[in-house]
Point group: C2
Chain length 722, copies 2
């Protein structure tokens, strides 16, 4: 079994949507869904751009999909040959994780179409594909290719005023509707054989028609280069796109692919996990790291990763806490520059967070729950549609899920803890921590008689329970943030003793610092040894029924289990790890026995209705030495995008796509759970807890700029330079 390639044989139309995710290629700048060369909007073809957003009318704000410059459809004897319309005799689709390529191989009556494509890791604006068309019988053939606007949009259209150019390099230049951002897509083509070419502009794109007399038994190769630039990354997107296409074609497909593969090679040297003993698990883990790296913003200084990656517009292309809690850990251990890029996005979006806090009458930084460019809050007040009435439902993710600020502050602190590097704190991270602490200060209430400190009316990680008081997770995140705000002075004391003082002065933070100092001991939750942690005030008083009982109350498979009317909302059934996420993120707070007690209470009560759940349960099961309990959660987490699992609906809203947080979670379980890796202040410790299914784990870690390699077997472990 090749653990580096995933192939699906045969064609099933129902798989088209999921395969678009499974077989995606991407490079952080853009993602190209795993669709056929000849597909369009109907099959959810899309070139998803990172960090470019648009709002059409009152609809949800979402990322912009670029026109598709790799479109290619063959016509044989005057009839289009297209998967889904033409019955194939054989078909397979493959994604090569090591090389970062997508390929298809389809035998139609009379012709075999093979293609390979990649989103260049060496040149983030470049997409290339090579088609190999083999004819079983001779005849007139025409390949229709070009830059087409026939692409998937959920709440589009987003591009307007298309200007097409049908020169040798085809060009489509448009602007987004809301902000008028230019988007240019060019395409150049190279045929290694004699052919005629006609070019044409229509409503749906600019096309070239490559016509040739096909000989039986012969294979015809066509190379397509498509470049995508936007006004956000280039002063002259059209010109840059044109010149990149020409350059790529001049260099040739093989040469461009080689440069692309060389980058992937470096990525895998940085982060590949060699898992021996279970090839399916190894494949799933490779797939996870492939997807995660395909969407990592290597091209940017300051950008984060949407919750559904670059697989479409689901979740509005927004950045969630997933980035800090599930993706950041992978990068900070393997590719710290990417970790910094993710966190710089939070520094740069601090003004948005300050505005959001102010909007709700609070001070400090309240980060967007669904963060778009500049920290714009993409989350609406109505994030779910009721399946019974088809009316929008008021949800409180936007206004009550306040742990987001603490999650971000937590990641800044972890970056410092793991790397010992003060630069990120200095370049804005410290300010983020202070402003988040200030937010929690202003969001905390003291009871008028007892002085008890409370964070009221919040949503914790478990989203099925809205508007709860004193979520253990949230209170701890807030307290941790305040602790770190207070600790900043010590951290900088040696190397930059004036820094924190000036910052506090600049932010007019002296008085708040005193208030935080006084408040912290009252707000910080206490967790008695061995005790059950109540998820929030009154959780234990909720109906204690089984997951099956709650499932039995469901009347429509698409109905949302949360909000006030949801079947889980007033039971102890939770969507995802909450107290267990707390235990995973704050290992020092709980003894192994306490973790186990809480795990055994909460696990059966968890629906795992979020892809963020299983990973936390697997990590914590390793804490109390039960890799067997972790295994199922590991497999589920690592396989999520291969298996096409996860929820596809929240109410009437489609939420499918890739699952970067689970991808990151898979690495976390392997490295931080099974190998028990922990780095703190440059010191590495291992506390392995290998499941019986795994013979050995071997993976690199970047420690203080140096790559080392960890090997864990059932007999022991070793650490060496890599």
């Amino acid at each position: 079994m090749d653990v580096w390639r995933y192939t699906q044989s045969g064609f099933n139309e129902q798989d088209a949507v999921t395969n678009g995710n499974r077989f995606l290629v991407g490079n952080g700048f853009m993602g190209y869904r795993g669709t056929m060369d000849e597909w369009g909007r109907e099959q959810l073809a899309a070139v998803c751009l990172a960090g470019v957003y648009d709002q059409n009318g009152g609809k949800w704000r979402e990322p912009v999909n670029a026109p598709n410059g790799l479109f290619a459809e063959l016509t044989l004897h005057g009839k289009p040959v297209a998967l889904g319309r033409t019955e194939p005799s054989e078909h397979s689709q493959t994604v090569d994780f090591r090389r970062g390529t997508h390929s298809r191989d389809t035998r139609f009556p009379g012709v075999r179409i093979q293609s390979e494509r990649f989103a260049s890791m060496a040149r983030p604006h470049l997409l290339m594909s090579r088609l190999a068309i083999t004819f079983y019988e001779g005849g007139d053939a025409e390949l229709k290719t070009g830059v087409v606007t026939d692409i998937w949009d959920i709440n589009g259209p987003h591009l307007f005023g298309h200007t097409f150019n049908d020169g040798r390099v085809l060009m489509c230049e448009s602007r987004t509707g809301e902000l008028g951002i230019p988007v240019a897509v060019a395409q150049a083509a190279d045929c290694g054989f004699g052919c005629g070419e006609k070019r044409k502009i229509t409503d749906t794109g600019v096309y070239r028609f490559i016509r040739f007399r096909a000989e039986a038994g012969k294979t015809y190769y066509v190379t397509l280069a498509s470049a995508v630039f936007t006004g956000m990354d280039d002063p002259d997107p059209g010109e840059s796109a044109l010149s990149l296409c020409e350059k790529a074609l001049a260099e040739g497909y093989e040469s461009c692919l080689k440069a692309h593969e060389a980058v992937w090679d470096g990525i895998w040297q940085d982060c590949a996990v060699e898992l021996r003993g279970d090839d399916s698990a190894a494949l799933a883990l490779n797939a996870s790291l492939y997807h995660l790296n395909s969407i990592a913003p290597r091209h940017a200084e300051s950008l984060s990763i949407p919750a559904r990656g670059l697989s479409g517009q689901t979740y509005k292309g927004a950045v969630f806490w997933d980035s800090e809690i599930f993706l950041f850990p992978v990068f900070v251990h393997t590719q710290p520059e990417l970790a910094k890029t993710l966190l710089r996005y939070r520094i740069d979006t601090l003004p948005g967070a300050l505005r959001k806090a102010d909007e709700y009458g609070f001070r400090g930084a309240f980060y967007a729950w669904e963060s778009q460019e500049g920290g714009v809050e993409g989350c609406t007040d109505y994030n779910v549609t009721d399946v019974f009435t088809h009316r929008p439902v008021r949800t409180y993710f936007r206004d009550k899920q306040i742990h987001i600020s603490g999650d971000i502050a937590y990641a800044f602190w972890r970056y410092y803890e793991i790397t010992g590097d003060l630069s990120l704190l200095k370049q804005g991270g410290a300010e983020v921590i202070l402003q988040c602490a200030r937010f929690y200060l202003s969001r905390t209430h003291l009871r008028a008689d007892t002085g008890k400190a409370e964070l009221l009316d919040v949503i914790g990680p478990d989203e099925y329970h809205e508007r709860v008081n004193n979520s253990a997770f949230t209170n701890q995140m807030a307290a941790h943030c305040m602790e770190n705000a207070l600790a900043l002075g010590d951290v900088f004391a040696e190397h930059d003793p004036d820094f924190v003082g000036s910052l506090i002065k600049k932010l007019d933070f002296e008085q708040d610092m005193e208030l935080i100092r006084a408040l912290l001991p009252k707000l910080r939750p206490t967790f008695p040894e061995g005790g059950l942690v109540e998820q929030f005030d009154g959780y234990f008083k909720l109906e204690d029924c089984t997951l099956e009982e709650v499932r039995g109350r469901v009347l429509d498979e698409r109905e949302y289990w949360g909000t006030n009317h949801g079947v889980a909302a007033h039971t102890q059934i939770i969507k995802q790890a909450d107290v267990i996420a707390l235990a995973a993120l704050f290992p020092a707070l709980f003894s192994d026995e306490t973790v186990e007690r809480n795990w055994r209470y909460y696990e059966p009560r968890t629906e795992h209705g979020s892809s963020l759940s299983a990973c936390m349960y697997a990590l914590t099961a390793c804490r109390f030495g039960r890799p067997d309990l972790a295994w199922e959660h590991f497999i589920k987490t690592a396989s999520i995008d291969l298996a096409g699992g996860g929820k596809h609906w929240a109410g009437e809203i489609y939420i499918g796509g890739t699952h970067p947080a689970a991808n990151g979670g898979a690495w976390m379980i392997a490295a931080l759970g099974f190998a028990g890796l922990e780095i703190r202040g440059g010191e590495l410790t291992l506390r392995p807890c290998l499941p019986k299914q795994i013979q050995s784990l071997r993976f690199p870690v970047t420690l203080r700029g140096k790559r080392i390699r960890v090997t864990v077997t059932h007999d022991g472990f070793s650490v060496e330079d890599a």
Copy 2:
């Protein structure tokens, strides 16, 4: 037009439920629904008992209906003659407000049945009826009568272990299921003509069959006396019921009726409002005061009035804020002993309020939103059923409608303000005020940075908006309660200088008094002159649409508009007066101009989906001199039970019945609004604002134990001894 009698002619089966309410007779101890003599469960026949509650299984706790001792069904030629099964040629039903009697007159083929009944005001345990049966043709007749258990129950059955006795006085003795309270119903009958009688016990009751050979053209009179006693009011209910029946029959129908009428006569002397100029309005006002007095607990020392009176088990027979805010004002101005009886109920149920506060982690007294005997909270966490899924919906009336405690404290204070009488405060009222203030103290939160005092997560009078912050009404009620807690010392300074000090000591209240003193200025809302008052934090940011727009979104006429999924919940459409109720209850807080500005803003945004709404709008319209704006609300309020209006469904839950709060509201509009009556510390002022429809208003008021009479015309007003 006779403004003292309401008659409905003709028979329409659909009216049976509403007529049960319209034609009710009652005496505070019990209510007998306005059903036909021959009706049972199916037509919602019921003898509703005040203050006796029972819970069957997990169903809602509700009041107990007694077996029906006035059941009577005629059989002619072997065939039952019954309205609804036998087509009448003529039918009418009448309630006589002045005499407190119900009568019916039905001509069936061959026979005319007339009857009259009353629930004796002179003897609270006694029901009597007299049937007059006139035959158009001779034949064998049988009147089947007795004590029957065929009565309406919503969440019953509640009576078990029936012991029937078929002696001369029929007897049914039972016990309630939950608490085992004995309930005895006896019946004695008197026929003024020769007849045979057989008696029989069956599953559904104990019957007597009065058989006689009817002569054409002759009228046969039968008198029934039924007595109802429970273990809550008598050590030997069976014996007492038996003896009362015998006594009543011995005295005779006319004599008993006379005693009953004499009490009603006194009641009307105390409270009748003579409204000249609009007979329909006068009739409606008489109906309102009739219903209100029919359910007033004259027989008790400490009892309050359920929100649907004694018309059934709707709203669990529970006592709401209606009693203090809508009923108490009528009684305190006209029959102060009844006002005391209502408030003594709150003194006696203080332990229940202390328990409820404790249950939610607060201190002091948190009164039940739906109070049953002993202050038991009848309100459940699921008070509405979703019409689309038929699943119970989590509502927050029970836990968040905290203004109830302030409403009660407000009434105690008003009693003192109006009467100058300290006795009620001394006999427990002061303790109620202190414990309510303590509750608000413990329910208030201070923001950790600014120290702002807030009452978070509440429901104000407008129930369509759940879980809001800083409801203007609620904050003012809480502040008023605290103010009065602080003012108690001054109030008693002259006559009983040690009382408050000892009470504070007894309640360990010294420290809380200091906290309240410090908190009050922060919590008391301020209302800028001429400004719009925001109903709660963020109300003005809600969708500002019209009532019609919201109505247009309704998919099922029975769907509930509130809770998170309701069509009104996230708009500015409100169920009932909220800010305007605040303006009505605290007239000194607002100038007339400010009242008008707020009235004009809120009125078009009010659905008036509660019978408590229109009255507040009418009262306040009189404040700014616009009786024309008040008139429609007055008519709606006063006519509610005659018209059979009001909502009948909240989700899938039947909420019909009589509307005591609107009955009280009608009086308030007439006396406090149109006449502009205000009594404070024994001083009476009038500020009339008569609508053009009314020529004059004339009504008694009891002032310091003396009855005076107020007359208001368009030319002026006068006050004289009555």
